[in-house]
Symmetry: C2
Subunit: 391 residues, 2 copies
């Protein structure tokens, strides 16, 4: 589980090609449609190398021709674009009482999604259910098994033994086992396990509002509050995979220090409404209450704004992201309200004069964000080489 004692791998010709393929695919994706010469210029590779790689990728269907672009001098550029059916990412979200799945194509479009209830969450039951989701997704869409590049799996964290046990979200019976290995056996696919916040961040990068961004933070409203961090297109997940547990940091609410997620989270709004005799079970209830301008809800938004602003300030000053994105299990209208209501701190490295984007944005992946994000983990892998640019 520890990310810290991993040995750095050596590189041979095969890995070189794999890296360059990822780089080419990432360039094509970023550009929409692009020619070989331009990729070569941007990457420092020779045109010939890019040409060979593109020939390969046409052969295995990941790219397709996209017409010639004329207008300048010289030979018109033969452009290439991502072939949507060239590969798929399977996303699985395991919750204590349900399993969700989504299948997305290479462009990030959702081709299938499904949900089943769990009667118990013993590993054996869950693994069987997960495998059934895969079979169903392939069957319903007609996608061949070999086209699936891998599976992303979102599970309740935190992973390993930490000081935040019994937060209610962990899966019993999953503490002392290796989820990745078991899932790979069950799915016969490469598996990437992440928490909901990290996966959701990836969903925004692959098919949401963060397309083209490499370094940003995603604030995830789940039961509590989580933070997904991307730097240079890669997740920052800490030494043991538990980075981003922002819900537990102390903030001041009405002069009293409390945990952030006790005043900014879905549980907190539900508790507040409950105290006012309102039973809001799900997102639809919340949406309805907001549409009705229910006073207790507006009051909650009011009290949440201040600690929320403090949290944004902390994120900005610690990570210096391009933008902070909000999403998760909270109705869009409420998130928009929060974004508009919040007064962002002036003392922040993100309070730059030359900004072109807002500091705060709402994610566009909706309530399926974590499941889509799980699938997006797979695509990100295909698009983003492991080599960072040198400083």
């Amino acid at each position: 589980m520890s990310a810290s004692h991993r040995q750095i791998p050596g590189v041979n010709a095969e890995r070189t090609r794999s890296h360059n393929r990822q780089m080419v695919l990432g360039s094509v994706r970023a550009a929409g449609a692009i020619g070989r010469a331009e990729i070569a210029r941007a990457s420092g590779l020779s045109t010939q190398a890019v040409s060979n790689i593109i020939a390969d990728m046409l052969a295995d269907g990941m790219l397709r021709e996209h017409g010639r672009r004329t207008g300048g001098r010289g030979l018109p550029v033969q452009q290439y674009a991502i072939n949507p059916t060239g590969g798929y990412g399977l996303g699985i979200e395991i919750r204590p009482n349900a399993v969700f799945s989504a299948l997305i194509d290479l462009t990030g479009a959702t081709k299938h999604s499904h949900r089943t209830e769990l009667t118990n969450n013993q590993p054996k039951t869950v693994l069987a259910e997960v495998a059934a989701h895969k079979v169903r997704a392939l069957h319903d869409t007609g996608v061949r098994e070999t086209s699936v590049l891998g599976a992303g799996v979102v599970m309740p964290g935190p992973f390993g033994a930490t000081g935040i046990q019994n937060s209610g979200s962990d899966l019993p019976g999953w503490q002392d086992i290796d989820p990745q290995g078991l899932l790979e056996d069950a799915l016969h696919l490469p598996v990437f396990v992440e928490n909901d916040a990290n996966a959701s961040a990836m969903a925004e990068r692959i098919s949401g509002v963060a397309q083209g961004l490499e370094t940003f933070a995603f604030l995830y409203f789940g039961q509590g509050l989580g933070l997904g961090l991307l730097q240079g297109g890669r997740l920052v997940s800490g030494a043991f995979g538990n980075a981003g547990e922002i819900g537990h940091i102390p903030v001041i609410a009405q002069g009293v220090p409390v945990a952030l997620e006790s005043c900014v989270s879905r549980l907190s709004v539900q508790a507040h409404l409950c105290a006012h005799g309102i039973d809001a079970r799900d997102m639809d209830d919340l949406s309805r209450l907001y549409a009705q301008s229910a006073p207790p809800l507006l009051q909650w938004l009011d009290t949440a704004a201040q600690p929320f602003s403090a949290a944004i300030g902390i994120i900005e000053n610690l990570f210096d992201p391009q933008v902070v994105i909000l999403g998760g299990a909270m109705p869009d209208a409420l998130l928009d309200h929060l974004i508009n209501a919040v007064r962002l701190p002036d003392r922040s490295v993100s309070n730059r004069a030359d900004r072109t984007q807002p500091r705060l944005m709402r994610g566009t992946s909706g309530r399926m964000t974590a499941t889509l994000g799980a699938a997006a983990l797979v695509l990100n892998q295909a698009f983003t080489p492991m080599i960072a640019a040198s400083r």
Copy 2:
């Protein structure tokens, strides 16, 4: 300046070799003395490849033979170790009124250090002074110019236009220029520019208490308070290089929300002492006062402990580091006092049952930590390939 819009480079055979050299050097460094077969096993490369690389590195002096290790069966291992004189890193720290420099060898040992005052800090004056430091370091040590692998430079941040202008630490006249380019021209070396906290973190990794750690946080007491973050041996520096500005986050001190660095920093302790009629100008004054158990100083330590604990909790929950290290311009005795006095938060992902290391440690690079860290940036570059291990 923006780290975010950099194009990922392609890889060719030459870059492959460069990566593998870094990997080999890193393995040797981590092990102290090691044979080829072991490196090959750990990296997945063939023995032959490792053999060729080691032959190269013996030829250019970065490695040296380190006797055979017998004991097992089979041919005794021919071991190799880092050759201290095989390369050097130059560290430069630019402050508003002074320039510091240090030259460290491949094992991280300091071979030379020097300090000069600045009469003004216009770029021209500073660049000339910096160049003079290099000449002097080479002259005094007899190190050849070609053995210097690069220069790390620490400058007051934050970089670019942010909401934290006029913090008093920025260099006037350096806002709209490209420091890295100018420094490379002045030094004729590859230059790595970082802030003090990031560089100090690197000092601990290369020659301090964080050797062997890949993912940790370094809390730096400068004028204010900064945070250096390493994940997988690489700095996390955000989209614009300003990550880690932890001094500006709000905490509660005596029931009132204030900026963290207004109660935990050197300026804060000096202000507190000043209010009690004590003039503490430098670290020696503070050390003396602490040795005398001066009540105002103990009182400051007392009030600082609580916000300090909150800060540690935030760092741990957001980054999940292996450890948090304390250092910078604060006497060791005071840091040790803080470490012993602080009650670390229970609600933290770092509060693990299976810990073998303490959650909080003091750095061992002393007051030169940022300058040494600047030099360490160069060595880290030589030891740490850019490819992350795959998840």
